[in-house]
Amino acid sequence: MLLTVVSRIGRGLLVVLLVSFAVVGLMSLAPGSVAEVILGENATPEAIAALNAELGMDRPFLARYLDWLGDALRGDLGTSPLTNQPVTEAIMERLPVTLQLAAMALLIALAVAVLLAVASAVRPGGPVDRAVNVVSSVFLSVPAFIAGPVLIYVFALQLGWFPVIGWSDVDEGLAANLRGALLPAVSIALIEIAAFHRVLREDLVGTLREDFVGAARAKGMSPSYVMFRHALRPSSMSLITLAGINLGRLVGGTVIVESLFLLPGLGQLLTTSIVSRDLITVQGVVVFVAVVYVVINTAVDLSYRLIDPRVRKAALA
């Protein structure tokens, strides 16, 4: 048990190391050095070389990577040459917006998907199931960059229920904050609702055929009690794995909606940094996102043991 936990964490660390190496290596392939960006196009080659030497950019790649790694472990991801702001600080400033969007989208997706899956699984192949499946297939084909504009058109422009763009902090009132965040969150959530529904429906249908469900029913428990208290938990394993894996798509979705709704999150930081060729910031954000993603997926892997006692026993045996 302890051994599997340790080896899983070790594997995660190895992946994180590989990822950071790949990103730093990729960024060093970029044409044009940091010095050229700082000094502008009219700089003399001598000035560029001097600044490169000062920044330590003339040393071999491996040495630079180890330096970067040492700094990163202490929480220093470098300083943007364009804004003179430490990258870690910029990330921390933007993080709450992205976190809120991702959390809201995940919650909406899980809540709706559980309800839809339960509705489907009550009578597989029945009219409700078939109707829900069609809705789910439609949602699966609506990426954020389509859902966003269409939702804006319908709910913000035609119906006027939500603000078109912009972000209001929680300090300015929770209601205003949620109203501004709802449309972007739903835009990302649609595709996840479909993905979650498919997986959970499949597992629920399987679980409902098992003996312990029959036993619970025979004891006279109500169908909804059996569904929610007996069948849902053992059926949620694949759902939780998928939620972890799909977090990557969710983050990609936040990039899209932050650019569309003009929200000051991590994705917007990444987009603007790419356009202004601020590679230090790009590198910091990409490594940060990838590391968080790996950590979450490792945690999801380990969390099976908490949810399903059968896995605990299987690991011990």
Binding site: R11, L14, V15, V16, L18, V19, A22, V23, L26, M27, L29, A30, V134, S137, V138, L140, S141, V142, P143, A144, F145, I146, P149, V150, I152, Y153, L157, L247, G248, R249, V251, G252, V255, I256, S259, L260, L270, T271, S273, I274, V275, R277, L279, V282, V286, V289, A290, Y293, V294, N297
Partner: protein, 291 residues
């Protein structure tokens, strides 16, 4: 008659009813739409449409009956949206097809080798795919586009990198399942080498599964390309792409919603059709789903 049969020792072949597969109108419509999009993209230059860079009318004009070019309206420069959508289909389809095909070949090969040979190669391949899957897809594409200048080539490179790990995992899982089967053991006992077993015994069984996942992966590629173009990091203008058309129109959505809704509808229908086709093929060919 019956006597002669009995004498010959023959038994009438058992009557096995044909397996009836449910036919869905929706799946048929999906294949029809895909055929139409592919046909339009192939014949784009032969269709009676203005080139995608010339203005055919007033900018921001809504859809209008009677004229093919104006049937979807015009964009902010007065260019025909239908013409741009048809030419944009080329970008989306080429990107989707080429990236997924390279992904199938490279990823499938790596996955089969890793699953069949196991050992150290398997460990390395698994670690590398884990590392590649550790990037959220769009973030990986954005990181690449920050280093390389956006063009068809770099877009293809990024998307191919994105699909390879998926196919590695799929091929590896299926190879593991098939390698344990009796006919592989029989082939080995008859003296077949690794290469013969991989090519003659395992590949024919793994291939249908990989192929069945192609449409879904193509849909994901079209979405990825659209997302990147939407952020202004895809194919540079004036070449039209579906995601770029939505990006062009999104600031004018208040007055001319057709500029966004038309390309959005086309992308939706295409992705929807590919997903339906993928589900249809997977139900028929994926062994890991059936067993």
């Amino acid at each position: 008659m019956t006597q002669s049969e009995a004498v010959a020792g023959r038994v009438a072949p058992p009557v096995v009813p044909r397996v009836r597969r449910p036919r869905s109108v929706l799946v048929f419509a999906a294949y029809a739409w895909l055929a139409a999009v592919i046909g339009m993209a192939l014949l784009a230059s032969l269709l009676p449409l203005a080139p995608y860079i010339t203005a055919v009318g007033v900018p921001h004009q809504g859809p209008r009956w009677g004229s093919l070019e104006l049937s979807m309206g015009t964009d902010y420069l007065g260019r025909s949206i239908l013409s741009r959508a048809v030419h944009g289909a080329r970008v989306s389809l080429v990107v989707g097809t080429v990236a997924s095909l390279i992904g199938v070949v490279v990823g499938g090969l790596l996955g089969m080798l890793a699953g069949y040979l196991g050992g150290r190669l398997d460990a390395v391949v698994r670690l590398l795919t884990d590392a590649m899957l550790a990037f959220p897809p769009l973030i990986l594409l954005m990181a690449l586009s920050s280093v390389l200048t956006p063009s068809m080539g770099t877009l293809l490179l990024g998307l191919t990198l994105l699909v390879i790990p998926t196919f590695v995992r799929l091929a590896r899982a299926n190879t593991l399942a098939w390698s344990a089967r009796e006919f592989v053991l029989a082939a080995r006992n008859m003296g077949a080498g690794h290469r013969a077993i991989l090519l003659k015994e395992i590949l024919p069984n793994v291939l249908p599964t990989l192929a069945a996942y192609l449409p879904v992966v193509m849909a994901a590629m079209i979405v990825a390309e659209g997302s990147l173009s939407f952020l202004g990091l895809g194919i540079p203008p004036p070449t039209p792409s579906w995601g770029g058309m939505i990006e062009d129109g999104k600031d004018a959505i208040t007055d001319s919603p057709h500029m966004v809704l038309m390309p959005a509808l086309i992308i939706f229908l295409t992705v929807f059709s590919l997903n339906l086709a993928g589900d249809h093929l997977r139900r028929r060919f994926d062994r890991t789903l059936q067993d």
